[in-house]
Symmetry: C2
Subunit: 445 residues, 2 copies
């Protein structure tokens, strides 16, 4: 699929089907785009002419950005400090092939498809409706006519890719970073293996869920025979802003979430807390990358909703209305953990969430959170299967996630209303350069 | 909750908490709205002054429409011919109380909350952050600051509300319409009881999933002790346009879906096919109402995606690119079922979906479809749990749905790629008048 030349004009005149059927015009996704047409035509002009497109290792110039699209190539992968989009489709994959070359070719093919789809184009060069009539289309078609919708696709490598049950599956064991180990058991964890871990992960974020779903579906299709979908999760209503241009959204507790989050506009803090600092030969390939922690956190919202406003605010340590710390001020005021009120009790309770996670209480560490709300129907007891699909990007999970989560699991008043049902940790390789593929530094140099 | 007076200005000056805590400003959802502020202030002005709001049977003037909000009151319920919004949260409830008065009070309370929420307001008069500090808030808060987002809430009554295992539970058996019977078993059905049926249904549609989820969650909360959530389903990317102003969207087969759908701009056809024509005493209360058929239809998209474009188009009977019938023309051309091609085979195959569902092949019947795509993660075999949550509004399921679905289940080439996993039928009462409540005609007159 990926080594075939691009057919001439993708929006061409009607051509006879040649089998008695009427003319069947070929229409590609970009041909259907309206607003982005100008930029898109430029892209097309650079691609026609028999050049190979997006094949393994082929040198393809980065397409000009299209309206509503984020560049795919760069020093870091998109989807980390990109302003959080509204919708998420997160997927974990397991390798079904044991061959290293299949892993490499998969990453190459995923790279080519991701570079296309993030620009609002079909997953493959023929697209959903062109190409040989007697072959399956190389795009599934449900995003035809939809703009890029801010789609970003971010890839990660799980611990099991490097070593599984002691076995070096792909000759990568010597390059397993010391920080990339399965997360420890935290008190109260009730993890479902079918919602946890995975050799590879894909985070697709977009402002249109159909675009995010389309991306994961086409990557799963491309993986066939090499990797298989292990689990996936949809999310909506981002729970953390990652840019100062975004207002702080609310989680399903009804509280603002992410007031203290790291922001794209703070490069110094991102260097300190998000981008990996390699320690040696094993993780040199991860320079410019990060670690992605995912936790599926169910909220017992029916119980929460029966709590008095006073109790809800005490648990969080902030007001529900504005998000101001209970020690006073407005949303972005720093909490004062020393202030006391009636009965000499601290205004911000000792087990309040805002206190336990504050950098001052955690040796200065911060995370870049990028979580989403989820509702996956309801269980047989009439309760919604709902909560927060927590995603955080950190420099090192050993310093930036595990100690904080251990503290929350042991002492946070909020834990009473939470149950962690899924978990995963992945190393997120650096960004892709034109002509390269995602994770290339792991396999070369 | 619903009989308490509205507190004075809902966005007031900071007031001391009175317990050593700092000032705790009360903020209601409407106070946080930006664009709709002008209309919203008008609404507020009409409500303050100690008037009771939205209590059972209370006479409340309909609030002025707000930006992004559809009127709640009218001859028909909103959410049927309303231009289909982008997101769905559908929920089915079972009564846990056996008392008729609990059913009536539930419908009254739901009416009051729905009238508020569809205008971008909190579910209850105090809202998420005002009201007594030692009581649970009467709104859960996650929609604070969000506009109405086109929210509509549509209610329906299932067969089991009238008669369950032969028992007349609420004194309504004599008013069970003849058309309101559990749907028959169709060939190939593989229904999950936990995704089917229910005494009551709620269809919440909005352009923001957080607003639709908020609506269902707050209605479930209000129902506590009277009715309990039986199941719920999220959907996205409407699969059928219901207005000529909307482009035809695509389903997860990648094809345009709903080209032939009934449209809001066709009142004559809506009268013929959507609005109930009462037959007698049993269904007189349903005048101005409709029937809602819901079917959770899983698509085996991995299998579909391996089919040649030719086969996909043969099964549907339309081109994937433009949606034109295979007999020629463009999307909105009428298919010609008599035209033949090579080998004297009809261009539109005898088992093509477009042929089987066409009104000309079904004694002229049409449906108003209002379905949504869904993806609920994946199963243990690496396949997405994905498909179409089919919703149709019809005048009478005996003439307008059951025969068509029986034909599809028996003879449609598409059925090979489908599995029906959920099902439900509800009678949808007429619209609510100011001061009334949803379904009132069922209990009075």
């Amino acid at each position: 699929m990926s080594t075939q030349p691009v057919p001439g004009p993708e929006v061409g005149p009607s051509v006879p089907g040649g089998d008695g059927a009427p003319a069947r015009p070929g229409v590609s996704r970009r041909g259907l785009l309206g607003a982005g047409a100008a930029g898109v035509v430029g892209v097309g002009a650079g691609l026609v002419g028999g050049r190979q497109l997006g094949g393994p290792g082929s040198a393809v110039a980065e397409p000009a950005p299209v309206a509503g699209g984020y560049p795919f190539h760069g020093a870091h992968q998109a989807g980390i400090v990109t302003p959080a989009q509204d919708r998420l489709h997160f997927a974990a994959f397991d390798m079904v092939s044991a061959e290293r070359e299949d892993l490499v070719s998969l990453l190459q093919d995923w790279t080519a498809a991701a570079a296309r789809m993030t620009q609002g184009r079909d997953a493959g060069p023929f697209g959903a409706t062109s190409g040989p009539y007697d072959a399956p289309p190389d795009d599934t078609g449900e995003a035809l006519g939809l703009p890029p919708s801010g789609l970003t696709i971010t890839f990660g490598f799980g611990p099991s890719l490097f070593r599984l049950a002691g076995k070096d599956r792909f000759g990568l064991a010597a390059r397993q970073p010391a920080g990339l180990r399965r997360l420890p058991h935290f008190p109260g964890d009730n993890l479902d293996a079918e919602r946890s871990d995975g050799d590879l992960c894909v985070q697709a974020c977009a402002d249109d869920p159909q675009v995010a779903v389309h991306a994961v579906r086409n990557l799963a299709r491309i993986a066939m025979g090499r990797a298989s979908l292990r689990w996936s999760q949809l999310g909506f209503g981002r729970t953390s802003s990652t840019s100062t241009a975004q207002a702080t959204p609310r989680n399903l507790f009804g509280f603002k979430d992410g007031t203290m989050n790291l922001k794209a506009e703070e490069p110094g803090l991102l260097d300190d807390h998000v981008w990996v600092r390699p320690e040696g030969a094993a993780d040199q390939w991860l320079a410019g990358g990060s670690y992605l922690v995912a936790r599926r956190i169910n909220m017992t919202i029916e119980t929460w909703d029966r709590q008095p406003l006073r109790e809800q605010e005490r648990v969080i340590g902030r007001t529900k209305a504005t998000g101001a710390p209970l020690s006073g001020g407005e949303e972005f005021s720093q909490p004062d953990f020393t202030l006391k009120g009636r009965g000499d009790e601290p205004l911000v309770a000792t087990d309040a969430h805002v206190r336990l996670v504050h950098p001052d209480q955690n040796r200065g560490v911060q995370m870049l959170r990028r979580g989403y709300n989820f509702v996956d129907g309801s269980n047989g007891l009439g309760r919604m299967d709902a909560g927060l699909f927590f995603i955080a990007y950190v420099r090192d999970p050993r310093t930036h996630y595990i100690p904080v989560q251990m503290k929350i699991a042991r002492g946070d008043g909020m834990s009473e209303y939470l149950q962690h049902t899924g978990s995963g940790l992945w190393a997120v390789p650096p960004g892709v350069q034109p002509g390269g593929y995602v994770g290339q530094s792991l396999f070369t140099g």
